[in-house]
Each structure stands twice: as C-alpha cells, then as structure tokens.
Symmetry: C2
C-alpha cells in the first residue's frame, strides 16, 4: 500500500493519507449523509445539504472509522461505522446551525452562514430536525451504550455553548474554566466519536478508556488551535476575519495568557475592548500586539501540543498498525494545521 509507504517515508500519516486509506468508507458516509436527511419538506434537505456539504473536514467520521478499525472492526460485519459517522456529522451540523444563530455569524467556512442566507428561523428548526433524526437513527442502529454516550455529549455541547455565552467578554475567565468550556463545546462530541468507534469495534473497557482519553485530549487541542488560528491566520485562509473571536467577545487562551501578564494599562485596554464590539473592531491590531508581546500564542500552542502528546500517549495500549498511525497522525495534524 503506497499510503503506508508514504507515511513511513515522512514518518507521519496525514489526513490525506487517511482519506486514501478510508476512501471507500468516507464515500459511503457522504452517501449516507445525503440520503438520511431527505424529507418531504424541501427546505430540510436544502439547508442540510448546504451545511453538511460545506467543506467540513470530516474529522469526526475519520476518528470514528479509524477507532473502530483500531479495535478490530473490518467493515464486513455491518455498516454501523457508516451510520454512526453520519450521526456525528448531523449533530455537528445541527450545533453549527444553532451556533450561527447564537453568534449571528455572517460567514461560515468563508461562505454565507445558514442564518445569513435563511434568517434565524429555518436554521433553528432544521437543526432540531437533524438532532431528532440522529436519535431516530440511533434508536434503530446503535449498539448498547452508544445512545448514552452521544446524548451526554450532545448535552455537554449545549452546556458548553451556554457557558461560552455566560462568559462572553469575561476577560477574567480562568484558564481552568476555559478548558472546561472548550472540552464541552468541542471535545465532548469528538470523544464520543472515538468511544462509539471503539464500541462498534468491540473494544474492552481498557481500550474504551484509552480512546476516551485520546478523544478528550485531541478535542481540547483542536479547539485550542482553532482559537490560536483566529489570531495567526487571515481571512483568506480561515474564511473569517482574523481577530473575529475577540471581536465577538469570545475569550480564548491567547488572550487569557496575555491578560495575566499584561500591565495594568494593558489589562484595562483589553477589558474595555472586548466589552464593546465597535471598540474591539477599532482596537483589534493593538489587541493582537499585546497578545503577541506577552507570548499568548506561544503559551496556547505549547498547551495544544501538550494535549496532543497526551492523546498519543494514551494509545499505548494498542498494537502497532496503520489505524494506530492514523490516530497518531490526526493528533499531529490537529496541532500543525493552518485552517
């Protein structure tokens, strides 16, 4: 297999390699995604299609498919890996739809967000449709334990989004609270993908715990990098203007770190800027200067790398093989990606 050879040459397996290894399965996931949101109400597939075909990375299906195979699933037993990948993408899509309404975002991955295109009404209800659809699918297809895991992850997801709203413009938020928030908002569903893959693969408790640890740590690392990219990337690469999170009032680790080390005057400047969107827009260059001056980016990057390393370390219980390499590669990719 040329893929494994490439990985061996570079020493690391990339998402492109994984897309190659899991080509057939990821194609089946795409088909399943399109088939399962059909409805006699035409707006439902229209908005769903717009969202789930909107250039997502399919990180969650990759994690689920690879976790299942790491635990011995071959894909010949049944298609539970495909249907559960669909479920995870629907939950992710539903949460993006609702998050856009909450954030009143104009752009999502560089194109108009669903709420900018259709207002608040359809995105709220199509999100609900997708949530309900996932539970219908799970009621039909899930092995024991999966509904518990996914519903708890969905609850945490909502709690994390609420927590984010509660701590909007709260520049004194602690690092601990921030980690709790990003685990809920992003890590919980990613963890559920790894655990569900493990269950489909028939993993024992030790392996399930390992996958859970892996998922939790890469989930946190993933969101940390998202929050870093908001400061380091540009509109063309990211699909949204740089500094957008700060302007929206989201307090992230680079800012928390810089705030901790800032002078009294800098603290005051950051605090006033994040509380007033118009002021934040005006001051964003200076805000970025302060974050850079106090090594906010470096600090957050070190943290992200540390979570990624913890994720890889937790996979020690698994024997060598291409799917172990795949999960390790995804942990690496998550902290080196530029978009």
């Amino acid at each position: 297999m040329h893929v494994r050879e490439n990985a061996a040459i570079s020493g690391i397996i990339t998402p492109a390699d994984i897309q190659d290894i899991l080509k057939k399965e990821l194609a089946a996931v795409e088909t399943s995604i399109s088939e399962n949101f059909q409805s006699s109400v035409a707006m439902i597939p229209l908005i769903s299609e717009y969202l789930v075909s909107g250039g997502g990375k399919r990180l969650r299906p990759m994690l689920l498919l690879a976790s299942a195979r790491l635990c011995g699933f071959t894909g010949k037993e049944n298609d539970k890996d495909i249907i559960h990948s669909t479920i995870m993408e629907y939950i992710h899509a539903a949460s993006l739809l609702h998050d856009d309404v909450v954030d009143t975002a104009d752009l999502r991955r560089g194109v108009s967000s669903a709420n900018a295109k259709w207002g608040n009404q359809y995105p709220v209800l199509v999100g609900d449709f997708l949530f309900a659809k996932t539970f219908s699918l799970m009621a039909k297809h899930s092995p024991p334990g999966v509904i518990e895991i996914v519903s708890e992850a969905t609850r945490l997801l909502a709690e994390g989004q609420i927590l984010e709203l509660v701590h909007s413009a709260d520049i004194e938020m602690t690092e601990e609270k921030y980690i709790e928030l990003i685990f809920s908002k992003t890590g919980a569903l990613i963890t559920a993908c790894c655990q569900t893959g493990g269950i489909i693969g028939g993993a024992d408790e030790q392996r399930l715990n390992a996958l859970s640890e892996y998922g939790k740590n890469i989930g946190i690392a993933f969101q940390l990098v998202d929050d870093i990219l908001d400061f380091t990337s540009d509109e063309k690469t990211l699909g949204k203007p740089a500094g957008h999170d700060f302007i929206e009032g989201h307090v992230t680790l680079p800012v928390i770190a810089a705030f901790a080390k800032g002078s009294k005057q800098e603290k005051k400047f950051l605090m006033e800027s994040i509380k007033d969107e118009a002021l934040a827009v005006k001051n964003i260059s200076q805000v970025m200067e302060i974050v850079k001056k106090h090594d906010g980016i470096e600090y957050a990057t070190t943290m992200a790398e540390s979570y990624s390393e913890k994720a890889v370390a937790s996979l020690d219980v698994f024997p060598a093989g291409q799917f172990l390499d795949a999960l390790k590669g995804l942990a690496e990719y998550i902290v080196t990606r530029k978009t």
Copy 2:
C-alpha cells in the same frame, strides 16, 4: 371516591377531576421536572424553570399517566411514568423555546416569552440542552420501543414547525396540508405520550394502536381548538391578542374555510392582509368579520368535534373504569376548553 361520583353526576370527568385522581403522580412529575434540569450552568435551570413552571396545562403528563394506568400500570412497579412525563414536558418546553425564537413572540401564556426576556441566544441553547437531556434520560430509563417513538415524534415536531414556516401567509394551503401540519406540530408528541403510557402499562398491539389513534385524533382536535380560540377568545383569556395567528401569517382552518367560500374581493382582501403584517394588524377586525360571515369558526369547530369523537371511539377496546373515563373526559375537555 368523590371524584368518580362528581364525574358520574355531571356525566363527564374534567381535567380538575383528573388532577385530583392523579394528584400524587402529578406532584411527583413537578419534582422530577425541577430536579432533572439542574446544571452547574446557572442559566439553564433559570430559563427551564421559567418555562416549564409557566402555567402549562400538563396535558401531556396527564395523558401519559392515564394511558399507562388504563393498561394496568399501578405505579408500584417503577417510576417510569413519572420520568417519561418529565421527558414529554421537556420536549414540549424545548419546542416552545425554539418556536418563540422562530415566531419572535413577545408573549407566551400572557407573560414575556423567553426570547423577549433573554434574546434568541439562550432560548436556542437551553432548548438544545433540554432535547439532549431527554435523550440522556431515555437512554437510562426507556423500555424498548420508546426511544423510537419519541425521536420520531420529535422529528415530526420539527418538520411540522418547518412546514408552518414554509406555508407562512400561504392562504391557498389546502385543508389536507393543514391537517398534516397540525398533526406534525402538535399531534405527534401527544400521540407519543399515549403510546409511551401504553408501553409502560404493558399494552398489547391492539391497545397500543387504539392509544395511538386516540392520541392522533385528540392532538389534531387540540390544535384545531387552539386555532379557533385565536379568533374567538380575547387577550385577557388567551394571554395573546386575538387574531394573533393571522397577523403572524399562520394560515388556520377558520381562514382556509372562509377563503374557500369568500367572494373574489374577499379572497383578495384576505390574501393581501395575511402577506403584510402591518396591513393584517390594520385589517384584523374585517378579517374576523369575513371568517365569521362564512362560518369558518363553525366549520373548524365541527371538525374538532369530529376528531374528538373519533378519539373516544378508538378507546372501545378498553374496559370501563376511571382511567377510560379520564381519557374520554380529556377528549371532551379539549374541544370545550376556553383557554
């Protein structure tokens, strides 16, 4: 039991009688409702409390509790009746939260709606939290078959709300489409309450089908009466201004019936009025005149009574008893209620 005697005297059992018969159980439902939305994120119980304690009729718990007991459940076996009543109220509350965002309603049951009080953001996310919480509870507590039923009902609920949006101001909507819409929006969850009660009570297929038919028909009747009350009641009784549905662009059976019989000029008048909210506000008295002139209210009332009678007839498979009387009484109440 004085309740049965009262019912015997009046010939019909009322919701007040049922609240008396099921006093202990309904109190347990209230406790369960408050306990299960606790969260470390303070906004969640705050908004949930506001909504689920906001003077709802607890129709869904009553139906579920009575259906279970009609099928032989005594309440000594377990507390599945209480927890599933909680689940139904959470789904109902979540859908109201999202519906208010969609409708941008200012009033709900005569008090400020959640979105008027907290904006769109919290109601969207607390609704999601409640949806997720219900599926967590079901994963732990539901007997086989219940998650399928409830997730399908939740999906239909979202589809019904979307359908309503699609047919907003569509005065040419057919009666058939309208019935489909109100079944999805209101009837599906009410049906699920009756079916779930039946499953908890160990009903066989014939009895489950009977409860399903009953639920479907009273669900449609319930929404028909809601739509009638919008024309016949007043702001003080209803908690929202009369004609509110028409002003919001909701096409309901009284209007559909009047439109069918209206003159060319009246048709044009109704069509133009419903398409423009400001015009609808200005014209609402004349709109009501036209609806009354063409017996729109009478037509819809006759339909509601017919659905209520079908509901009662479907209960023929059950032996006489106070819970049969309770369900028959609820079918009667639904079409005679004034709020």
